[in-house]
Symmetry: C2
Subunit: 410 residues, 2 copies
Amino acid sequence: MAVERRTSRDIRSESRLDVMHALLSAEEATRNDLARATGLSPATVATVVGDLLSEGIVTESRLSAGRVGRPTTSLRINADRGRVVGIDVAETYVRAIVFDAALREVAGVETPRDEHESSPEYVVEGIGRTFEAALDRAGVGAEDVLGVGVALPGIVQRASGVVVVVPHWSWHSVELDSLRDRIGVPLVLDNPLKAIATAELWFGTGRESDSMVTVNLGTGVGAGIVLEGRILRGATNAAGEWGHSLLAIDGRRCRCGRQGCVEAYVGAPGIQQTLREVAPEHPLCDLEMQQEFIQALAAASAADTPDPAVEETLAITARYLGSALADLVAVVNPERVTLTGWTTWALGDRLLPLTRARLDEEAPGESAAGLRLEISTVRSNSVATGVAMIALERFLGDVGLVTTRVPIAL
Amino acid sequence: MAVERRTSRDIRSESRLDVMHALLSAEEATRNDLARATGLSPATVATVVGDLLSEGIVTESRLSAGRVGRPTTSLRINADRGRVVGIDVAETYVRAIVFDAALREVAGVETPRDEHESSPEYVVEGIGRTFEAALDRAGVGAEDVLGVGVALPGIVQRASGVVVVVPHWSWHSVELDSLRDRIGVPLVLDNPLKAIATAELWFGTGRESDSMVTVNLGTGVGAGIVLEGRILRGATNAAGEWGHSLLAIDGRRCRCGRQGCVEAYVGAPGIQQTLREVAPEHPLCDLEMQQEFIQALAAASAADTPDPAVEETLAITARYLGSALADLVAVVNPERVTLTGWTTWALGDRLLPLTRARLDEEAPGESAAGLRLEISTVRSNSVATGVAMIALERFLGDVGLVTTRVPIAL
DNA sequence: ACCTATTTTTCTGGGGGTTAGGTTTACCCG
DNA sequence: CGGGTAAACCTAACCCCCAGAAAAATAGGT
């Protein structure tokens, strides 16, 4: 049954990840700080830090704090250990961001994508070009790159080999071996939602909870589930596909081809559709660009004279969202739900109270009572950040510091 | 962040549980068999078995296998170590089953419950009486009882203390401390779906997969989720409440008070409702007892002359079920889904192909491709068996053999 | 200059865990 | 009565974690 046994080595691996986690959160910390933050004993932290020091992952910087006693040696991630690149492949753009090893942005490049061109060759070429441009702008060579992470707007699955499914590109099971050749450095592929959840786990609310759900609201919607500090990936890395859960059987047609998905109601086009149903003649119905529409909606809602159609649209959307979240909360029962994505940035504050109320009504038993529902504080580039973090984790695995392998890697 | 750290002791604990798991599955096995089954080295199995032997949990029985070589000493669970009781509190009955320590049934008692009487006092009294009657019939005294598990038809939550929520009994947050006093032996409370999933994990398809979902179809419907060999409990033990996920917003009124829940469509009353919508005059619409109705539906479907209304009802139900399962599969992405419950026993064979087809259509990407959808082989008393197993796990914790505490215990 | 108090960090021993590989054990069989 | 053989058992090596003692590195008093 259990092919992969846990051994005591895995404990050390987890300790190392925990220390890294605490150190990335704190930017700078002493061994004692880390012991407090991780719950490990100072002795264990010392040996773990020793490992990380000898691999050059962290550096010491002695600064006497002026107080009495032995001065503290503080530790920080060795940002110059190398560079990590996160690439966010979206429908209309490819964005590559170069991070230092402490996951701080060094440089970024965004290139547009032709939404109607989706051949694997075109996509691979676009990724490759953007990657090289970003390296160029950051002034680093490929030899400095510890790893590259690429988030593709679909499902990255591991069945027999790594396979990418992107319905609206008509990618049913595309293998991207050519991408590895093009990039030429260690590569991980994943789904943007898992990237966002990873970013949230390392740099956002995940620093406080280790059981949470990250919900992204944009053109599409989706969730990343974190249980016990680890992303839930499921049997084939497809877990968390909540955006295409059913909200209304035989309901609105979704762009995924099915009907009644959550996304068709709380994705940006879905919200516009709701407005059309509320007020078919409303001027905002005609806005072509989704982000523009959402911005206009937010502006209208913040205006002095309330627009009843807008208010009703928001109320209905919050109701849809609350109900859909209630299902997710009922199944996973997390400690917290964190909302992200550009719809959240624009409308989150407006939607939150109503969504919360609906969620409290709909979630079974007491599961919503202690639940924290909030807006993420990780704003910019969370997809690129998260997928770069996954790549960094993979690098830690490659140098032997961590045994928990990132499952999806070309 | 992590209050509970993993230590090497937990590894031993897991190893012990794995050995128990293998031994319960196999009934009888040699140390070598166990090493193969668990993936542990023979040496480790030997020490683990030593622990279990010295606690009297397993016994040796030497039987020379007639082959050449040192004869094998085979091991089995020491059934006489004590008794474990599982109590299934349902809406219309309370069933208490006494098991030996190898989880084989020794005796059982079922007493009816007044469906309309739901005061905690009445419920506690009913459980207590049934427990005592079962002990009596089994001819064992309370001193032989290692533990008792009680499954209550609601949500058993851990917030501040243990709290039971049973909507249709109007139990919003009932504390059952009186039950402990009444029973007088170590007690665990849990939800029937988690009990069923536990039974499935130890005695059913869970012996092959450690990532699975158990779906129960009866009057109510619900799911138990198993990830990495452990029941997903979530922050407050409320995870897995899939029966009240939304299938159709503003849809059929559900007995939980909300609208459009999965249960309102694929629970037994929901299926009858579907038949009423298909053929309002159909004679089966008038059957009062749900189980009788489901049986009649199964009989009509197996008859030589097909009944178009019945066939259509089944097709629609399979479609509802497939869609609802697709949501669950999309979020959790398990290796297998196992169906249980009396509706499954009656109609499972009929529903399976159509449900499977719908699931394949609706599940995103490839997540349904490798998925195994099947009918459970654990038939009788799976709730009592599962909750007894949970009680046995708790006992193993109490004697110090297992550190993973059962979270819900009075 | 020397000692003392103080705080951080390292060292050491004890308690666990897993495994590979060699020994012992207990049979069958010629 | 000695092989042959497979199961069960030691043993040593290596890995974890942690508590508590010891060392290190300062500031400040004498």
